[in-house]
Symmetry: C2
Subunit: 109 residues, 2 copies
């Protein structure tokens, strides 16, 4: 995702999560554990959040709950666009492994 002002897919997924719901660092880590199978280290998640904050893409309230900024929303939109071009044939990839798209778009936190 070099087209965007983010580190990589980790930052992309963080922004993506925050676009749905404001979350704390540990909540974000839990979501990433579900996606990747292993939980990101504190040394991974908090520096990423710090960088996103410094770039003005997210903000944190007094309870350390992070939210997307307007700039972050724009960034995420750009990233989603790049992502959809990069993986334009993602449907074929999914069907490649015969995995059902269970509840695509809705998941419980």
């Amino acid at each position: 995702m070099k087209c965007c002002d983010m580190k990589g897919f980790l930052s992309y997924l963080i922004l993506w999560n925050l676009s749905k719901k404001s979350m704390s660092g540990s909540e974000i880590a839990c979501d990433l554990e579900r996606r990747r199978g292993n939980k990101p280290s504190p040394g991974t998640i908090y520096p990423a959040l710090k960088e996103l904050k410094e770039k003005g893409l997210v903000t944190a309230d007094k309870d350390k709950v992070y939210s997307l900024t307007k700039k972050g929303e724009r960034e995420l939109t750009d990233a989603c666009k790049a992502f959809s071009v990069l993986f334009f044939d993602v449907k074929d990839m999914f069907s490649c492994c015969k995995l059902q798209l269970l509840g695509c778009g809705k998941r419980r936190l």
Copy 2:
């Protein structure tokens, strides 16, 4: 994609391409240019192919045309599975950038 025996998304996309059609290095590079917007450097594509070959995931014939091996097919299937879990809600990501004037997501209320 640390769950798989590949470098990253670059190797993943190489395997994915080869699963559709045997290709030379430059053909692969052209596809990646379409996906990413910029063409990968020779110093990117050929070391990746070399690594895949050394791992037994691809083979090259005398004309330097690369093909997936059986092992490569299995590896790709595993990678597709991990990919589909990692981006299980990819449909929402795609629609995110199509509805950019309406905003990408809903924040917590």
